[in-house]
Amino acid sequence: MKVRVRAFARFREVLGSDLSIDLPDGAVMATALSALREIAGDESGIIFDEDGALRAHVILMRNGKRVKRSDLDTLVLADGDEVAIFPPVAGG
């Protein structure tokens, strides 16, 4: 199945603004994140920590709704889902 990923702010620079990833049917959000970590490669450190966990300030959404950290391993994605990922910006 295909999941659309939209990245914003600095994450766009490492993931591109709009990409489509192929995942096995029944994949959970954590699987999608592993795929993104691979795509980000050497620059994945701005999104994930050393253990591969999403950095605390990162905002993750699925079909316009926020995804809780506690749901990453259980939230099953569906073909055509849209995942948005971005860091809050802090400047003024």
């Binding site: 709704k65 910006v89 400047g91 003024g92």
Partner: protein, 244 residues
């Protein structure tokens, strides 16, 4: 009641929201936290729109590195307090309104007095700790908070109505790491004007605010999107257990 002079000054927007709307703006007090990249365009546009009282706070003095984006400050303001520089330009732009300038660091001890009897808080800060403080004050006082933030070509904004929408800590439970952020002046220009537009709409009693929606501006791709944001039941700032 508007004076003849005011009817002339605001003629083009009286066509839009009438004398009643303009009276609402005239009677309004807005607290703007920050006189930097966001604060400058927000304050300028609220001033020329005729918001009756603008309260603006910032602790910093103008530096040359500010001048690419902080559009109320000029080369000869370098070294001057930002709020004094801003106050002078705002008075020039609209002598018919009241400007109150506070050259101070916004902290737990003074945030309540700074907000005072304002109808609205506008977040034009450059750091999350102070934003969280404004958020808590908004929740405590029930005064709405219009959030904006920028970095590089990117920006975000949302309107927080205490007790009704997600608060800042619902949306951003963790502050991003502090940094010297890159920025081009158009980014706070875009986001600041979205915030000022929200402020005017709120004061006029218009619906369809950015309430419960997070706006993301991508200036490189020239896209603007909004995402629904919901209250977190376990939010340490606004959950029912903490506040109504």
């Amino acid at each position: 009641m508007l004076t003849e002079h005011e009817r002339e000054r605001y003629a083009r927007q009286l066509l839009l929201f009438g004398e009643e709307g303009q009276d609402r703006l005239k009677g309004a007090k807005v607290f703007i936290a920050g006189a930097g990249g966001l604060g400058c365009p927000i304050a300028l546009y609220l001033a020329v729109a005729g918001v009756g009282e603008i309260r603006i706070a910032d602790r910093d003095t103008v530096e040359r590195t500010n001048l690419n984006r902080q559009v109320l400050h000029r080369e000869n303001d370098v070294g001057e307090l930002k709020v004094r520089s801003a106050e002078a330009k705002l008075r020039e732009a609209n002598p018919d309104i009241h400007i109150k300038a506070f050259a101070t660091t916004i902290d737990e001890t003074n945030v309540r007095d700074l907000v005072g009897d304002a109808d609205l808080i506008v977040d034009a800060m450059d750091n999350f700790p102070t934003r969280y403080l404004l958020n808590r004050e908004a929740l405590r006082s029930g005064v709405p908070l219009i959030h904006g933030a920028i970095r590089g070509f990117d920006g975000q904004a949302t309107t927080i109505i205490p007790g009704r929408t997600a608060c800042l800590e619902c949306i951003f439970p963790e502050a991003p790491p502090a940094e010297v952020f890159p920025v081009v002046g158009t980014t706070p220009g875009v986001i600041g004007l979205i915030q000022a537009n929200e402020a005017i709409k709120y004061l006029l009693g218009k619906d369809d605010l950015l309430a419960g929606r997070l706006l993301l501006w991508d200036g490189l791709a020239t896209t603007l999107e909004t995402y629904t944001v919901e209250r977190r039941l376990d939010c340490p700032a606004c959950s029912p257990g903490v506040r109504p």
